[in-house]
């Protein structure tokens, strides 16, 4: 299998979000797991912000875990971008034993 490249950014402090992006070419599309105190009101909006950020970086396959602690839209986008860029910076295409 291909090595999944992972990037993490942010924190669990108030007004922040901890975002983990796993780039996984074998996966169908992008799956987002969101944990947030405002999931009922803003869950879809937050997922859209994550998706738009990943699309801007041409990330099409992977898994994203967001642990939100009341972040603003600009913070969530920043944390997602940083995590994705960190994942993209990991050397590509290494094979690992299953």
């Amino acid at each position: 299998m291909l090595l999944e490249r992972t990037g993490v950014a942010g924190s669990l402090e108030s007004c922040d979000a901890l975002v983990m992006v796993i780039l996984s070419p074998d996966r169908e599309g992008v799956e987002i797991e969101l944990e947030s105190p405002s999931i009922a009101s803003f869950g879809e909006e937050m997922k859209r912000a994550v998706m738009e950020t990943l699309e801007s970086l041409d990330v099409q396959h992977g898994y994203v875990k967001v642990q939100d602690r009341g972040s603003l839209d600009c913070t969530l986008r920043a944390r997602t971008e940083t995590a994705a860029r960190r994942a993209l910076a990991v050397p590509d295409g290494e094979k690992v034993e299953e």
Partner: protein, 297 residues
């Protein structure tokens, strides 16, 4: 005019802290410094740069001047900071480790290139030059004159004293030399002189005494590292009733003499010339900012 705006306090906000970035302008500082440099550990430089860029895009920093302390271009982070930050056209960048006019010119050229490529009018973003070494201290006049973008001079007390081999003390005598250099170079260039931080956030009396001392020396403001330092520095930068009263009388005499076309003005038997009028204007501007002149202007 950008160079003349009030900068009594400049509040450092770490570029790693989303909560503080969102609320940076609510504390009442005249200027805010979104920090990408010493306040950010190396492994978080990328995260802070993106966070600050996004904050500049979407947080309405009402009332305060917005500046970003970038990393020096001599570091591995400087160019990326410029490329992300300049297109958002903050009021100014704070350029650390300025050692010579070449450091300012290099920043100026890169800023112009980025501004032109991103649809921002060339020259929009100002530079507040920070000197932190003996060499920088010696070259302050050429640093201030290196670009019309330079709107103020500042120095880093810790780095400067470490570089010259001085010991930091509460009294701060070791800063006398650099403070004098900053003020003289700033005045020659017609830009503002901004004092460094007072590190003890629990010593409000010490902060007030230092802020008052630097105002009387000629500084236009002081950097602060905690919101609670802001009202103390503003108080120190608020002129006394006596100063305000004299300044008003100077301006009244000046206006009256100007209307008569008189060249020489006297007040209380003392000649009032251009520098006295300029000082009176500055006192009244500080008084107005502090809310001491209700209903005037």
């Amino acid at each position: 005019m950008k160079a003349k705006r009030l900068r009594r306090t400049s509040l450092y906000i770490p570029g790693t802290n989303p909560g503080m970035l969102a609320n940076a302008s609510v504390y009442g500082a005249d200027s805010i410094i979104l920090d990408l440099e010493d306040g950010v550990p190396v492994p978080e430089k990328d995260a802070a740069r993106i966070l600050v860029r996004n904050a500049l895009k979407s947080v309405p920093y009402r009332g305060a001047e917005v500046t970003v302390r970038v990393n020096a271009l001599s570091t591995p982070f400087g160019r990326d900071d410029f490329r992300e930050i300049i297109p958002l056209a903050p009021d100014a960048i704070r350029l650390p480790k300025c050692e010579s006019a070449d450091d300012v010119r290099e920043a100026d050229a890169l800023m112009t290139e980025i501004e032109l490529n991103s649809g921002v009018e060339a020259g929009t973003v100002g530079i507040i030059a920070i000197t932190e070494s003996a060499r920088g201290g010696r070259n302050l006049s050429e640093i201030a004159a290196a670009s019309p973008r330079v709107i103020a001079l500042n120095y880093g007390a810790e780095d400067y004293t470490a570089d010259i081999g001085a010991v930091r003390t509460k009294e701060g005598r070791e800063l006398d030399d650099i403070r004098a250099k900053v003020i003289v170079a700033a005045r020659i260039a017609g830009v503002q002189a901004l004092d460094s931080v007072f590190g003890d956030v629990n010593d409000m009396e010490g902060l007030y005494a230092e802020a008052l001392r630097v105002r009387l020396l000629g500084f236009d403001g002081k950097s602060v590292i905690h919101p609670r330092q802001i009202p103390v520095v503003h108080r120190a930068f608020t002129p006394s009733e006596q100063e305000i009263g004299f300044a008003r009388r100077v301006m009244a005499a000046f206006r009256e003499a100007s209307s008569r076309g008189a060249g020489v003005i006297a007040l209380d038997g003392r000649m009032i010339d251009a520098p006295v009028v300029a000082r009176a204007e500055k006192i009244l501007a500080l008084a107005e900012a502090a809310g001491c002149l209700p209903g005037e202007r």
